[in-house]
């Protein structure tokens, strides 16, 4: 299990593994926003919190196919399924590795990008906090989506279609935390709800992911 975790990190670091690329995608999407919306500072500040959460979510989404697809294609997933570690553990470890190589860097980078979008000063702390609490849920839910669609060639878009609706609650609470903080309201209520979502999905979804993989391997 630890071996798997270490290998997944190693693979992510290698060329083409995609570590840092999610970050770069996040950066680019956020820089594209002013081109699309126009350079007006007020407009940008009003949407900054939402754009940062949305950008982080999309960057997360796009790196999901890394989780299982490669292992499926080269047969490693079949071998893991017959190895003496539970598939639930495999799913959990892979979600964790995904978060470490995607969610964590995104969380750390978000405040910097907030400057680009003139995010109001009081919101930086809450932005980081909300992403730190919310991105693990994105990884775990994404792992489930990746497990569901692993058998499908070029299933990337289909996976997005399945995963994005599942992301809705996380996104709503996450963005709401930052928006409330920006508006000077109390963000504890969405913060607690977000934490509940993260904990519950981390506890339950690996079982669903493992079931989906088992079905896909048949």
């Amino acid at each position: 299990m630890i071996a798997l975790f270490r290998r997944d990190l190693q693979l992510a670091m290698r060329a083409g593994g995609g570590f840092g690329l999610a970050l770069a995608f996040f950066l680019i999407v956020v820089t594209l926003v002013p081109f699309a919306l126009g350079p007006d500072r007020e407009t940008l500040a009003a949407v900054a919190a939402g754009v940062l959460w949305l950008g982080a979510l999309l960057a997360c989404l796009l790196s999901l196919d890394r989780i299982f697809a490669l292992d499926f294609e080269d047969g490693a997933l079949e071998l893991l399924a017959t190895a003496p570690i539970p598939l639930e553990g495999v799913a959990a470890v892979k979600a964790l590795a995904h978060w470490l190589t995607t969610g964590l860097p995104l969380t750390l980078a978000a405040p910097v990008l907030g400057v680009l979008l003139s995010l109001p000063a009081g919101a930086y702390g809450w932005l980081t906090l909300s992403l730190a609490i919310g991105t693990p849920a994105l990884s775990v839910i994404g792992t489930f989506g990746a497990g569901l669609t692993v058998g499908i060639k070029r299933g990337g878009l289909l996976m997005s279609l399945i995963v994005l609706p599942l992301y809705v609650p996380t996104l709503i609470f996450g963005a709401d935390i930052v928006r409330r903080a920006t508006d000077g309201l109390d963000p504890t209520a969405p913060l607690i709800l977000l934490a509940v979502i993260t904990l519950a999905s981390a506890a339950l979804l690996p079982f669903a992911s493992a079931a989906a993989i088992r079905i896909n391997l048949r």
Binding site: I2, R14, A76, E78, T82, A83, P84, I85, L217
Partner: protein
């Protein structure tokens, strides 16, 4: 620690392929599966490995005692030979014994990434992976594809050593391996289309 198969019915995508396959493999035995393309060798091996449900019959074998070697090797192109083997050994809870590299003539390739290996070298790495799992039962699907004569001999020697330590193997192949082995031709077990049978999984619809 042996494999006992009784009256097995194997299918693919809901269609029965093989019916009534029975055999025993004891420690120290090799069973070679033969049969024309498309008869169901791969499907049978996948069923034995527990990767696809059987349509009928029984497979008796100790849990977690079989290692499956498919067409795809489970080898990561971006990891080196050593890293690949270390990973699979760890997953199975063993260290990598230094002699596997010699056993499969990989010593001089240790630090190359697997993507830079030729077809045969990659296959040797895939076979070495089976050795580090420490499993006694080997299920091999055309293991000698792309191997030259010298590598086939290495493979045969590996199997001999494996058998001597109480292992057993089921090998699907079209080629003559230089092994003393029982041969099972699957042709007679081809499932009859006409035999309506509720066990088959689409047959509920007929």
């Amino acid at each position: 620690m042996t494999l006992n198969v009784q009256d097995l019915k194997v299918g693919r995508a809901g269609i029965a392929l093989l019916d009534g396959v029975s055999f025993d493999v004891c420690a120290g035995d090799v069973l070679v599966l033969r049969g024309p393309n498309g008869i169901g060798k791969t499907s049978l091996l996948r069923s034995l490995a527990g990767l696809q449900p059987v349509l009928g019959g029984r497979v008796d074998v100790a849990p977690d005692s079989m290692a499956y070697g498919a067409h795809a090797d489970g080898v990561k192109g971006t990891l080196t030979v050593v890293e690949n083997l270390t990973f699979w050994a760890r997953v199975h809870g063993h260290p990598v014994r230094a002699d596997v590299f010699d056993a499969f003539d990989l010593a001089h390739l240790k630090d190359r990434t697997a993507a830079q290996l030729s077809a045969g070298q990659q296959r040797r790495l895939g076979l070495a992976r089976l050795a580090v799992t420490g499993r006694l039962g080997l299920l091999l699907d055309e293991p000698t594809v792309s191997l030259d004569a010298a590598s086939v001999a290495l493979f045969a020697a590996f199997i001999q050593r494996h058998l001597a330590t109480g292992g057993f193997a089921v090998i699907a192949t079209h080629i003559d391996l230089e092994l003393k082995a029982e041969v099972l031709d699957l042709t007679p077990y081809k499932a009859q289309a006409a035999a309506a049978d509720p066990a088959g999984f689409d047959e509920a619809f007929l």
